[in-house]
Amino acid sequence: MIETDILIIGAGPTGLFAVFEAGLLKLKCHIIDALPQIGGQLSELYPKKPIYDIPGFPEVLAGDLVSNLMEQIKQFQPGFTLNETAETIDKLDDGTFIITTNKGTKHHAKAVAIAGGLGSFEPRKPLIENIEYYEDKGVEYFVKDPELFRNKKIVIAGGGDSALDWSIFLADVAAEVTLIHRRNEFRGALDSVEKLQECKKMGSVKLITPAEVTSLHGETHLNAISINKDGDVATIETDYFIPLFGLTPKLGAIANWGLEIEKNAIKVNNALDYQTNIDGIYAIGDVNTYPGKLKLILCGFHEATLMCQSVYQRINPGKKYVLKYTTVSGVDGFDGTRKEAEKAVIKAIE
């Protein structure tokens, strides 16, 4: 069982910054995220896009903002449960919570902060009949373990970065890689497009464009797919079909936690501490809604700060607290490091 003070759901900018504010109050955080990497939308959707409305940064790439946040919070040693989604929550008699993920990982926390953005990212499934029947029987929406495909025949569909990158990577692992895309053009980093061109020349990736996968075949496991290329239907034998059409966020299991939901967002008491209708569960950042809500990263930072103050009071009832400034008191990390302003020299000049 993972023990923490604040269990944060969502490793986007709001969730990450909450670790810093909690750390100043000596509260320990652990973060769950459905994606294998931190950063939420910023890492998944637009790491190379500039953001212009982060105070103090005239311009910062989304990916750099995530790296900076990680640098800022590292001394507070946050724990991470990545690649898992928060599935169930149980409130214990003492007011603490047990949160269990879809893989059964259990977390025990004194408070929960949902910083889930628009929800956890789930794969966009192509509209092919019976595709759900073949899930875990030859259809994979993620490449979790490339070894699964060793010496197997695989077909990848899609035209973006992940379709390109996995085709190139798996060319050295699988027995046969076929990449199918609806168009002749691919959308990805120049480097990846060039590498794929090379794989095609070498014969390690077979490219079929413009074409679409139309049906899946096999009794107990996928063994072939049908494709439509310019109106001609062909069947290709394959062990695996990996459709990579990007991810879409869904609120998922959190929607069944008994929280008040309005317009796909979690209702909170604004201007106080962003607590939900369940005592001890907070919602911060894009996932919450209240009168006047703005879905901006900078507002998420503010909400995270107020949430941490509220959790501090919850964990230390009755304890008086005076707000401290980092310029004055510095930052004491849980790892034993200390950051502080350089002391001025006081010395007589002779």
Binding site: Q41, L118, P126, L127, G159, R183, E185, T248, K263, A265
Partner: protein, 110 residues
Amino acid sequence: MPQDITLKITDRNGQIHEVQAPTDMNMNIMEVVRMHELAAEGTIGICGGMAMCASCQCYILNEIEIPKKSDEEDAMLSEAFNVKENSRLGCQITITSAIDGLAIELAPED
């Protein structure tokens, strides 16, 4: 004073809405749909309007001339579902007086 324009938007339930959209706010069609709450929050404009998801896909229903697709929009649509000849990404169509009277239908949520 710039004039508002009128757009005819068919929502995902087939209901037609005639809405006003300002031309002086650098808005796009996806934002107009959100402004008038014609699609559930969280189901449209997921990437914020960067042509990086296809949640604002719509079908153009009349002959009004609109700016051509950029390569980015074209590439995103090539990965979207339910794509038709007249598909566009709402976030890539800016509200200007040139598109007054445009009629669109929102593509299904995927």
